[in-house]
């Protein structure tokens, strides 16, 4: 999706249904480069499959149970004003 030549990435499922991912959605989903190793650790390991526009299909993310609570805290936070 370089320049103005591509508006969306399109993937297709086994039934032929298309999933159109607009450029803006793809850009929004860009991961922090610092997370690269953590992501690769959870991909079902195969070589990236070239798509188009410089993108490749890297795999399906499979997270272990509990990983979605990696940043969870039962301690509440709330805005507060401070002085000094």
């Amino acid at each position: 999706m370089d320049g103005n030549t591509g508006q969306a990435l399109v993937i297709v499922d086994a039934d032929g249904n298309y999933y159109v991912l607009p450029r803006e959605v793809v850009q929004t989903a860009k991961a922090d480069p610092a997370s690269r190793a953590a992501i690769e650790q959870h991909l079902d390991g195969h070589d990236p499959v070239p798509l188009a526009g410089g993108y490749s299909f890297a795999g399906v993310l499979r997270l272990p149970p509990g990983s979605e609570l990696a940043h969870y805290s039962p301690e509440p936070c709330w805005p507060v004003a401070t002085t000094g």
Binding site: H71, Y72, C77, P79
Partner: protein, 213 residues
């Protein structure tokens, strides 16, 4: 991620409409009404009131530096609760569908407005890439958003709060749906609530999420 296995889902809907996604992308806030029914709203209000006794001024959260003259009488106490936590987890799906990001829950809290519903101008912390807000109890006035102040630091926002000439009625007012949430990009959009007497114990429930990667 829709609650513990074997439990009945609390939410009436987890899908987000294309119009809601468009509004979110365009404005950084959108109302998501009809996520739950009146029964859950009543249960949430009951838990919120019951947890008030356990509420305290939290150690974490945005800190707006203001002048001594502008200091509030008392900070807003906050508490969590098991129903709040369950809803928090179930809202993860809509949160991801809305933003297109692999968000995970960070914290949820009831914030109690015991005398007035004032909130000082601030942006949210890194724990809140997305904040979902609803009125949990009583009546709470609209939150005022300030897209024109995007990029301002907390020190700059605190200086505005401390300035008697700053228009506290300004900004874009947004309300919360009765059986749903208002989604807010509060990390980017500065926001405040001007404050008015609540007349009764009133509370907001906040559900926060950040990207896993």
């Amino acid at each position: 991620m829709t609650g513990a296995p074997g439990t009945t889902p609390l939410l009436h809907r987890t899908a987000v409409t294309p119009a809601e996604r468009r509004d979110w992308a365009a404005h950084g806030h959108v109302a998501l009404p009809g996520l739950w029914g009146p029964g859950l709203a009543r249960d949430l209000a009951a838990e919120c009131r019951a947890r008030h006794a356990a509420a305290g001024v939290p150690r974490g959260g945005p800190r707006t530096p203001v002048s001594a003259r502008r200091a509030p009488r008392r900070a807003t106490p906050a508490a969590g609760g098991p129903l709040l936590a369950r809803i928090h987890l179930e809202l993860t799906g809509p949160a991801r569908a809305l933003t297109g990001r692999l968000l995970v829950p960070t914290f949820a809290a009831y914030g109690y407005y015991e005398h007035d519903d004032e909130v000082f101008l601030h942006i949210d912390t890194e724990l809140c890439e997305l904040t979902l807000l609803t009125t949990a109890a009583g009546r709470v006035g609209p939150l005022h958003l300030h897209p024109g102040l995007t990029g301002a630091s907390m020190a700059e926002l605190g200086a505005l709060e401390s300035d008697p000439a700053w228009d506290r009625a300004g900004g874009t007012p947004v309300t919360y749906p009765a059986t749903g949430v208002t989604a807010l990009d509060g990390r980017r959009l500065p926001h405040h609530r001007p404050g008015r007497p609540t007349g009764e114990l009133s509370a907001v429930a906040a559900f926060c999420y950040r990207s896993l990667f």
